[in-house]
Symmetry: none
Subunit: 178 residues, 2 copies
């Protein structure tokens, strides 16, 4: 399975109004604080890897996860290896990584809201210090990537957004560019 994903800058208020008109299924709002680490023995920007501790707060409670992202294996669809596990304490993992010589490089804070539109997940992100974005994503088999991408373009269109505005830069990179 491949993840097909389109991300564009957006005015969330206008997008939310369009979604409400369509009776889309809002899936709740969370606050995510993602800390990315530099390694003591490798340059992650050069190896195109990332190591992240995510602390997520929602109405249902808090949760932390440790995630490793490997280099891109397929550029067009942004496909990469991802290994993730829930952790009891983000603070403890931060302290372990820091003791090992890893250093917090940047922290991305965002408010995230998820909405289901047909087989697509639409994500409304307000990223602190960066801006507002909408992501449309779904999973597709290898032979179905192009139709899945066309469907995502259609969803963006219904929300008044243009797939030509697509940005492939991560929030972390956008934040570091500021």
């Amino acid at each position: 399975m491949y993840e097909v994903e389109l991300k564009v800058p957006a005015h969330l208020e206008a997008v939310r109004a369009r979604l409400e008109e369509r009776d889309a299924a809002f899936r709740g709002r969370v606050v995510q604080e993602d800390t990315y680490y530099d390694a003591p023995h490798r340059s992650f920007p050069e190896t195109d890897e990332a190591l992240r501790v995510r602390r997520e707060s929602a109405d249902g409670g808090d949760e932390s996860r440790l995630t490793y992202k490997g280099p891109l294996v397929e550029t067009e669809s942004k496909t990469r290896t991802e290994i993730e596990t829930a952790i009891e304490s983000g603070e403890a993992v931060d302290a372990i990584l820091t003791s090992l010589g890893f250093e917090p490089a940047a922290t991305v804070r965002k408010e995230r809201e998820r909405v289901r539109v047909r087989e697509y997940t639409v994500t409304l992100d307000r990223v602190e210090g960066v801006g507002e974005f909408v992501e449309v994503e779904t999973e597709a088999e290898e032979g179905e990537i192009e139709p899945a991408r066309e469907g995502a373009v259609a969803v963006l269109d219904e929300l008044g957004l243009d797939a030509d505005d697509q940005i492939r830069t991560s929030y972390l990179e956008l934040l570091l560019e500021e």
Copy 2:
């Protein structure tokens, strides 16, 4: 907080008998499988650090933990910084560490039984390929390390064990010496 810990070789059957005479509170038996990692950028044997993934099986279910142990801050009592957190998946953390260049160095398997004696945790360990041991440990504030150590010596004495037999070598080192 510092961990104050004394470990001596022991015949567990004799120690268990003494504990039963005293109506000590047995806290159940677990099987622990500890994998220790080598770092890509430091020699942990030289820096006296350790990074461990523990998978523990008990009647109540399985549980995994990630632990970092820092260098000794007080040699006599084997006091060191320890940072630990529960993790959802030991396999995922193993895969993340391996992707980052850490390598499994050795795996220590043991049956462990815990008993509470006053403010001390007494641990009866049968270590695969190494032998049988009793550990007496407690936590202490920086100024309370010495009295805490004396209390641990007294607990060993009550169990027919001698603090002079103390070994400072870890199970990992004992296993690697075999």
